[in-house]
């Protein structure tokens, strides 16, 4: 190897998985904003590009049946499963729900079962602890409590506000996998971590400075808890 190539900084690629559900522009732009000059952000539906990337982000918008259906139709599921065994992997919003065993949405949909547990509906008559009516979807800025120390929480204050838009919430069977919680009538899981996989219910790309910090942490993460 020549001295020249030794001195070149290694480039790193983060693949944002495109399975036709929108919202990728914001995710990609926020990643670019958080990234250093040696990081390439690609938006792709090509399994080979996902396999070749150093990091993978699974976004999610829309209804779960379409999300899971499109992932299968586009032939992306094997690459998603492979990435979750070997490199830093971040799932957001419906992405976190798609990694569970099952979701109640759309009359019941089997998901990828990476994390055991279900996505449940808040219900149309959701109530706060004092019995007052709570709106569903849970939409807006709510506080996220860190339940474990994790590299992805670095530089983010405990109880910082993140932006949420969702009507379903995840309930992992293994409580040790819960990385963060939020209170909306009930305390529920908004972040799950296991090995090189981290998943959040909120939208970091819409959560101003703290959201960008989480993306920065993801881009610097070596995949170790």
């Amino acid at each position: 190897m020549s001295n020249k190539s030794m001195s070149e900084t290694k480039r790193s690629t983060v693949a944002v998985i495109d399975y036709g559900m929108g919202n990728l522009h914001s995710v990609a732009k926020a990643l670019e904003h958080a990234a250093d000059e040696n990081t390439d952000v690609i938006v792709t539906s090509d399994p080979a590009a996902i396999d070749a990337a150093d990091r993978v982000l699974l976004p999610g918008v829309g209804a779960i049946r379409d999300c899971i259906g499109e992932m299968h139709n586009a032939g992306l599921v094997p690459s998603i499963r492979k990435a979750m065994t070997e490199k830093p992997f971040l799932a957001i919003c419906v992405g976190i729900q798609s990694l569970m065993s099952h979701s109640e949405e759309n009359g019941g949909v089997d998901c990828l079962n990476h994390f055991q547990g279900n996505a449940l509906f808040f219900g149309e008559h959701h109530k706060d602890h004092d019995g007052s009516k709570l709106k569903v979807p849970h939409m807006g800025w709510n506080q996220v409590k860190h339940t474990i120390n994790h590299p992805l929480w670095a530089g983010i204050p405990d109880n910082a506000r993140f932006y949420f838009v969702h009507s379903f919430y995840v309930v992992p069977e293994n409580k040790n996998e819960v990385a963060g919680t939020c209170d909306y009538g009930l305390e529920f899981c908004v972040a799950i971590a296991r090995d090189n996989v981290f998943a959040v219910q909120f939208h970091p790309e819409k959560s101003h400075k703290d959201g960008l910090q989480l993306y920065k942490n993801f881009l610097n993460w070596d995949g170790k808890p």
């Binding site: 929108g22 919202n23 990728l24 522009h25 914001s26 732009k29 926020a30 904003h33 918008v61 829309g62 209804a63 379409d66 419906v94 149309e124 008559h125 959701h126 706060d128 009516k133 709570l134 709106k135 569903v136 979807p137 849970h138 939409m139 807006g140 800025w141 709510n142 506080q143 109880n159 506000r161 932006y163 838009v165 969702h166 009507s167 209170d183 909306y184 939208h203 790309e205 819409k206 959560s207 101003h208 959201g211 960008l212």
Partner: protein
Amino acid sequence: MGLAKRIIPCLDVDNGRVVKGVQFVDIRDAGDPVEVAKRYNEQGADEITFLDITASSDDRATTVHMVEAIASQVFIPLTVGGGIRTCEDIRRMLNAGADKVGINTAAVFNPEFVREAAQRFGSQCIVVAIDAKKVSAEGEPDKWEIFTHGGRKPTGLDAVEWAKKMVKYGAGEILLTSMDRDGTKNGFDLGVTRAISEAVHVPVIASGGVGNLDHLVDGVIEGKADAVLAASIFHFGEYSIQEAKQRMTDAGIEMRL
């Protein structure tokens, strides 16, 4: 501790400029949408609404580019409304970086469109905009009706019933504008805001009539709104978003500071 109420500055955009008309007539220029959006982002706005009020559809491409430019630099939620008539319109805006789309007139003429859009994209990104006017006379029980075409055309639809129907069809949020109050600076129509907010399980954004910061407080406390939208009080530097949030916090409302 819990979910914060939201302040949403609204950019009414005509031919690529932020404008604000009093009752949609006397239009004043308030600047470049991308610059205005960045300023509100820095001031701590919780979301931004971009309303394309260009009469013709020729400039849809311009709108897409502006939405892209805003979404590239402003990392808070962005709702885009105006001229959203098909699922393809929605997909284009979401791909440009919008998080939600506002459907107004198209919902009135074709309610099934709301159902189709919610099924395809999820309720969380479907905001149904309702323009309501009070039609009951003094002394009669309160009644509000849906109007289209900038408040000029009555539809015969009861506003509260319409809101309930839109939620049943899949609307994830209601943007309620009082056409009686819009541009007047006399405060929200708290009656219709409260009636709709109590009738539906999704968040309601109050709009139309904000002239001072106490109006924002009233919208949340008396109107039971989940979010308050205003334009001119922020555009022309009368108040900053921080001042608005501070006033609401002082009134005991949970805000993101």
